[in-house]
Symmetry: D2
Subunit: 142 residues, 4 copies
Amino acid sequence: MSDTPARYRTKRRVEFRDTDAAGIVHFSAFFPIMESVEHEFLRSIGVVVMPSHDSPDSLTWPRVSAACEYLGPARFEDILDISLIVERVGTSSVHYRYEIDCETKPVAIGRISVVCCQLGSGGKLTKKPVPDSIRSALLAND
Amino acid sequence: MSDTPARYRTKRRVEFRDTDAAGIVHFSAFFPIMESVEHEFLRSIGVVVMPSHDSPDSLTWPRVSAACEYLGPARFEDILDISLIVERVGTSSVHYRYEIDCETKPVAIGRISVVCCQLGSGGKLTKKPVPDSIRSALLAND
Amino acid sequence: MSDTPARYRTKRRVEFRDTDAAGIVHFSAFFPIMESVEHEFLRSIGVVVMPSHDSPDSLTWPRVSAACEYLGPARFEDILDISLIVERVGTSSVHYRYEIDCETKPVAIGRISVVCCQLGSGGKLTKKPVPDSIRSALLAND
Amino acid sequence: MSDTPARYRTKRRVEFRDTDAAGIVHFSAFFPIMESVEHEFLRSIGVVVMPSHDSPDSLTWPRVSAACEYLGPARFEDILDISLIVERVGTSSVHYRYEIDCETKPVAIGRISVVCCQLGSGGKLTKKPVPDSIRSALLAND
């Protein structure tokens, strides 16, 4: 494992529902897009995204913060090039950065931090250290 | 109780997120608006909208169909005048019609049909007759 | 061209934002999904989805009605198999039907009707006959 | 005008579409809520939110950044108490902070920064100083 943070690259097309009356992607629409990329990344490294309430020792990743800077507009049908970078894995937290470009022009830079929790009965959440196997998978470079 | 169906009137302001790049309310945005009016109506007649999974005999109302005709555009900040009409209460079903106007011009006519279900453990749904007390409340005219 | 209506098949994964507190896809979320499939279909047959306000003779397709029947639940990460069927092309209208399945179980059947309009300056819309070239493309079977 | 930043207080009810399959408000749903509060605030101080493309000297306020920390869950039908605080008005920028509580428990703290722009023909945006009259209105305490 090198010092270079892991980077997962993918694409998303801007759908019409992502736009608003200013003719561009609504600022809030980048957040579900970033989350869908996180989920795609987790599936790609074999981490279960949505545990069953029934299975013991189920891990889930509630968000503790989310942020986005808007650098340029994106429009309907644009293809967004999205890089997810695992910036840091703390004891219980994972910090993702997102670089979102369109035709090499920067559109947005986002950040989402999540915390590793065990999902108990009744939806009760208990903070847990990130298991070593998941930590390694999150930090591995392709 | 007369033969006139019950009608519940309320208003909603068009928020910016409801719009799209055509400059008008996105066609899909009317559906959450209609649902929020249904929930406001149910609260107004004392029907619990979202039962707890824990409480026995909890009733919930999954949607079986939804439809909308678009008669004219609505734009950001428009005030929508919305009438919910209880068109029919079947054995287990409730059929709502929605008339959505803006400054007396028709914008949309919607229909949502729901079915009365008991919510069991694990989210299991069992179709139930609409209880008489709820049937009366749904059909009462103010 | 046979009598069989044109059918365009594609897939969509259920994203977390599509779900609601009942644990399933929110009924309204199927409408943007259906629209995104329509747009993918139109791109596949070479029809421009979102014309520029500047280009003369730009055609756009505002929705006149949308409907959906819900046949079974879909959940986060489910892969939806979606068929778009061009049910009918009228003088100025196009009527789409959508069959949405998940692992061969029916989830929803939708209908969206659009009308062919010329987009003039200031966003003014004028109803137009569907051009023959587009009519042929809409009705062609792969 | 004192040194206390202006604070605008309002409420929002959590709608069902705001929730997700974890049973709580989806993290992205706070952003349109914050924006709708900003717009309500601007209307309350007489600032036009959405200028016409036709009117000269129209001002609009594109977002340059948005962020949210999540402090506790909010659920369907919860009433959110929301305070918008004008943290700072720069030469061309306005920085809002949002404090979102539910029954006195903190739910989220958000930040949105916008920049004052003139809306020209074709949707072209040019950064402008915040006019003095708007600056005073933004900073005034009720």
